[in-house]
Amino acid sequence: MRRMMAVTRAYTLGMLTYRTRTLVSLLSVLVAVLPVYFVAGALQPLAAKAIAGESTEYFTYLIVGTIASFVMAEAVNAIPSLVNSYINSGTLEQILTTPIRWPSLMAGLSAYGFGWVAMRALVLLLTAWIWATSTIAWVRFPEFAIIMSLLAVAYAGVGLVAASLVLLLRSSLFVPQAALTASVLLGTVYFPRGVLPPAFAPFAAFVPATSALSAARQVLLRDLPLRAVLPDLVQLVGWAVGGVLVGGLCFHLALRHARRAGTLTQY
């Protein structure tokens, strides 16, 4: 844990030197809310019935979906892009000559990214709270954070698989993009499952975002306790455990292969 924190500290200190980029990124979140607000307002009469089980207002429904998309994007992209960049600079190989284990290293390196996502999510929620007509159950925020964390862990499995491919082939073979696209299309990020074409609707169950968003919206927008969304939660936990196990195994094997093939660094 201490080693993981040390990596997080070093990485965070480095990232905090990009002051302008940080500020612009935060401002862009605020700007991005505007079109969402107006489009959601225009579609509210059409969407109201379809989203009734999760939210009374399409704007807040979209805000939660957007937060989930931030989490998923970070989870699937952070680890493979860091591995790729650190292979090129030789940093990965250098750190692996020290006693740190790879799970701590990966967790330490990606912690900043998830922290940053949490910050942007908070800005989005605060903006929604100010503009929305419906209420946000702030008292349920810890439960909402748990659900988003589980979503991050579930998709980090995809990130680990992609990072394994980077170790093996120097390319993630578009695995993160494929996972993200499928999740955004099928996972009720921007529209409810009911509006999916019948041919696609059954596949929504095979996307971790579906159960996560169902639980997250009910908790945060309908003020329901975690036990009320237990089936979704159990499914999400299953995705998270399975994702980490599969991703972890892939990364472990890929790292071992890279140690044999000499692909831990770019020649």
């Binding site: 070093a10 200190l13 990232m15 030197t17």
Partner: protein, 342 residues
């Protein structure tokens, strides 16, 4: 920690790489996709407190050997022991016994300070609190960066970055230090200072065992107690630097003669007559290779007896090619490549 005199032991270490890693071309059986040997049955031992050099041209396998030793690369065959620990069976323990200074300074975190870079590695090796702070300060002080520790590494010169890499490796005072071409990006003055630091502080004061990869004979001569000469993945000689130098020194000489006597001198020195040197102040400089160092006085006497006016006759500084030639019967491709490059 092991009390054995031999702190690094490599036995029959063999490693092959594919030059072309493309899966598609491998399936097609394209040339370059079959494994190419990079290390071939390499064995060596390094004694505690010794500075041992791996000397060889680029591509000789020095860095590969260091990577195997530092556990980031697995050999195909062979045994590796680090401070009494089997590095292949127990890499985690082996990693605690050594620290690596890589050749590439990009391995640092450039956006944070030198002190933070060193602090990170101190934490990765398990140091905490006041002990870590003291170790970071001491390491930066050792490499002369105590005053610049708060500066971002990205603002440093190459020499300062190299020192940061060394401070980072030294922060836990490892018994073994692996240095991969430590003076590669340094100017001559900084390189000399760093070598003095390695010899006088790391080795003499701290008693660190140092394994150093270099293609600079000057560096090896100034630093190493013993060295292994590597050619194409094999060790062709392992000896003390004094003995290796004695075998090669004097074999190449620089002869400065009157321009009027150039042809006669060329004939006696077995140099091609059709290539003529540029005359400066009525003299030409000829570099010649003698069969061995003992021939130097004989050749000089022959020149003088033949009426050649010789104004300079001195051994040339030892080069890597000279060293490699002195231990191999015929000129190796590596030596030829080095000579062509020179």
């Amino acid at each position: 920690m092991s009390d054995a005199a031999e702190t690094i032991v490599l036995r029959d270490v063999t490693k092959s790489f594919r030059a072309d890693r493309s899966l598609l071309r491998r399936l097609k059986g394209a040339p370059g996709t079959t494994p190419r040997p990079v290390l071939d049955s390499v064995s060596l031992t390094v004694a505690r407190g010794e500075i041992f050099g791996l000397v060889g041209a680029n591509g000789a396998g020095k860095t590969t050997l260091l990577k195997i030793l530092s556990t980031v690369l697995l050999p195909d065959h062979g045994a590796v022991r680090v401070d009494g620990v089997d590095a292949l069976a127990d890499p985690a323990t082996a990693r605690r016994r050594l620290a690596v200074v890589p050749a590439d300074e990009r391995a640092l975190f450039w956006r944070i300070s030198a002190a933070e870079n060193v602090r990170l590695f101190a934490s990765l090796y398990g140091l905490t609190g006041a002990a870590r702070a003291a170790a970071v300060h001491r390491a930066l002080e050792l490499v002369g960066l105590a005053d610049a520790g708060a500066q971002q590494v990205g603002t440093f010169s190459s020499g300062m970055r190299q020192r940061t890499l060394i401070a980072r490796a030294l922060v836990t005072q490892p018994p073994i230090l692996i240095l991969d071409e430590p003076t590669r990006s340094l100017d001559p003055v900084s390189a000399r200072e760093l070598r003095r630091f390695i010899r006088d502080v790391l080795c003499a004061q701290l008693g660190t065992t140092i394994l150093l990869a270099t293609h600079s004979t000057e560096e090896a001569l100034q630093l190493c107690d013993r060295a292994a000469l590597m050619v194409k993945g094999t060790i062709v000689a392992t000896d003390s630097l004094a003995r290796l130098q004695a075998r090669a020194a004097g074999a190449r000489v620089r002869v400065r003669v009157d321009v009027m006597h150039e042809l006669r001198a060329r004939a006696l020195l077995h140099l091609p007559a059709e290539i003529r040197g540029a005359a400066v102040d009525g003299h030409v400089v000829l570099d010649a290779t003698l069969p061995d160092a003992a021939q130097a006085p004989v050749v000089l006497e022959a020149l003088v007896r033949a009426g050649v006016r010789v104004t300079e006759f001195a051994p040339l500084p030892l080069t890597l090619a000279d060293l490699l030639e002195s231990v191999t019967p015929a000129e190796t491709p590596a030596a030829a490549a080095v000579r062509r490059h020179a």
